[in-house]
């Protein structure tokens, strides 16, 4: 679409932003308003009919949030994006136009624990269901599909770490099934991975994590590639058939490649109301301005810390996919060349008891349930982020009871190593 593509560093600052026309303000203003004045009655009617694009009510659109949406859509190489209140919300927003009662989604076993819970239990309340499959087994993904399958879902770099999805291979399977591939790209960010360029249809993020980067605000976003033909089959009537809530207008026919994003605003946000607030969007925009610089440091530190841990006799194993010892080393080189993220687990000799002692004795690492912060974070996943899972689910996800999860921040790497060293000395006697 663009004539000469701009570099990532330029886009992370400029995409979506313009100087404010009313004042010349250079930085994106925070438009703290719920409603907007219409030019006249005809303008108001046209906005409500989706004949004109503009601002009616901040549940649907807001100028600050529009900048964030365009910024993330551009960085991911999509045509549009819809922001929402959290990563969990983004997952529901991504599925909502695709699923009806009785439909199912094929889902990777290697996901953040909260996502596993959402797909195992929560979506069943809508009459949807999920089939969990090992995404290293492409045949199993294909076999799991039936006439009610409407999507395939995975994480690019998976939580709690150590696993990288082969997105092109999975996308090919989804393509054969005639359904979109949805990739949660939270742990990678578009700096380390661009799922759309590897065949994904939709990308979701918890903007709470690396995109914002400093542990201040929650948020989510769904990006559409614009590449999926929603009318090629009768699987997606919300997009390919007349919509009663808009006098019989058909989203795909009217908006073409922009249909999914328009639906996300006009139906998703409008009717579910999981809206991001503009203050939060502003924090996230400020964080994204330095995304590439931060991710480079995160990855550099993660490799240093993971390497040190792997060579330490008090450690059983380290799962970081950026290590030469990782079974996913080739996949990392080929599909994630800028790095395998900064989240991984390691097993402490002495099992669960030693894990607890370690977590209780670090000084610089913060014991929190979060990831993707400039501060390094530590948590025992099995008893927290992946707690609601069965033992089998935990093992499949890489969050068994004997491992500790680290989210490596941007501090001085040697300080992080010394902190782990002194805590290990207490934990493993």
């Amino acid at each position: 679409m663009t004539d000469a593509p701009y570099g990532f560093d330029t886009l992370q600052i400029h995409a979506g932003a313009r100087p404010d026309p009313a004042t010349g303000a250079r930085q994106t203003p925070i438009y703290q308003t719920t409603a907007y004045v219409f030019r006249d009655a005809d303008h108001a009617a046209a906005l409500f009919n989706l004949q004109e694009v503009g601002y009616i009510y901040s549940r649907l659109t807001n100028p600050t949030i529009a900048v964030l949406q365009e910024r993330v859509a551009t960085l991911e190489g999509g045509v549009g994006a819809v922001a929402c209140s959290s990563g969990h919300a983004a997952q529901i927003m991504a599925l909502f136009p695709l699923m009806r009662p009785g439909d199912n989604v094929i889902v990777s076993t290697r996901l953040y624990g909260g996502s596993i819970t959402q797909f195992s239990h929560t979506i069943e309340r809508f009459g949807w269901s999920a089939k969990f499959v090992d995404f290293d087994d492409l045949d199993a993904i294909a076999e799991a599909g039936d006439e009610n399958t409407k999507a395939v879902f995975c994480e690019s770099i998976s939580n709690p770490g150590g696993y990288l999805t082969d997105i092109p291979a999975v996308a090919a399977v989804a393509d054969k099934l005639g359904v979109p591939l949805i990739v949660d790209n939270t742990l990678a960010t578009p700096y380390l991975c661009q799922p759309i360029s590897q065949g994904a249809t939709l990308v979701v993020h918890s903007t709470t994590k690396y995109l914002t980067g400093n542990g201040t605000v929650m948020g989510g976003v769904v990006v559409d590639s614009g590449n999926f033909d929603w009318s090629a089959s009768d699987k997606f009537p919300s997009l390919s058939q007349p919509e009663p809530a808009y006098h019989g207008m058909t989203f795909h026919e009217t908006f073409g490649a922009l249909a999914f994003t328009f639906h996300g605003i006009a139906i998703g946000l409008r009717d579910l109301g999981m809206t991001l607030n503009p203050q939060a969007a502003h924090y996230t925009l400020m964080g994204i301005e330095t995304l590439s610089l931060r991710m480079e440091r995160h990855v550099e530190n993660a490799l240093k810390v993971a390497t040190w841990l792997e060579n330490d006799p008090r450690v059983d194993f380290v799962t970081y996919a950026g290590l030469p010892s990782s079974p996913y080393r080739d996949r990392a080189k080929k599909l994630y060349p800028k790095g395998a993220g900064a989240l991984f687990t390691f097993a402490v000799k002495g099992g669960y008891a030693a894990c607890v002692k370690l977590v209780d004795n670090v000084e610089i690492f913060s014991h929190v349930a979060n990831l993707g912060d400039t501060r390094s974070l530590i948590i025992h996943a099995a008893s927290t982020t992946h707690r609601q899972l069965t033992t089998e689910q935990q093992e499949a996800a890489g969050a068994s009871a004997n491992v500790v999860r680290l989210s490596i921040g941007t501090e001085t790497a040697d300080d992080l190593i010394r902190d782990l060293d002194q805590a290990l000395a207490i934990a493993v006697k």
Binding site: M1, T2, D3, Y6, T10, L11, H14, A15, G16, R18, P19, P21, G24, R26, A46, N49, L50, Q51, E52, V53, G54, Y55, T61, P63, I65, A66, L68, Q69, E70, A73, T74, G78, V79, G80, A81, V82, A83, Y246, H247, G248, M249, E253, T254, F255, G256, L258, T261, F262, I265
Partner: protein, 161 residues
Amino acid sequence: MTDYTDKFLRELLSTTKTIAMVGVSLNEMRPSYFVARYLNLKGFKVVPINPGQAGKTLFGQMIYPSLAEIPEDVGPIDMVDIFRRSEHVGPIVDDAIAALSTRGLRTIWMQIGVINEDAEAVAKAAGLNVIMNRCPKIEHQRLFGELRKAGFNTGVISSKL
């Protein structure tokens, strides 16, 4: 999907003044109505062509049954925008060339989902710009600011007021 550069589209849309829309609907919820309304609002003169609705008006312009029947006093016609199915495009392009070559026609534009490579070749041979499978409303919204408001990737990077 063929790539048309932003520079090309921006120039084309800036220098186009009058658009004959073939297959426009009077039904407010149809895509062609959306497009006619938007283009009219943005200052284009939209000349609706629809044999079934001839004689009525849309946004203040008389609807004509065919391109050949657009009266001289409507003025030059820069673009023909086609809202018909791909298989109907051939004769429309032939009509456009026959009736409007001497009236300033420079561009044939086919809407989303409308692709006819034979007609494209004919139009190009006649010296016309051809755009297929795109919507002038969406392209104009993207390049001239409106799509920014809903978080679409406009591809526009600018620090100008």
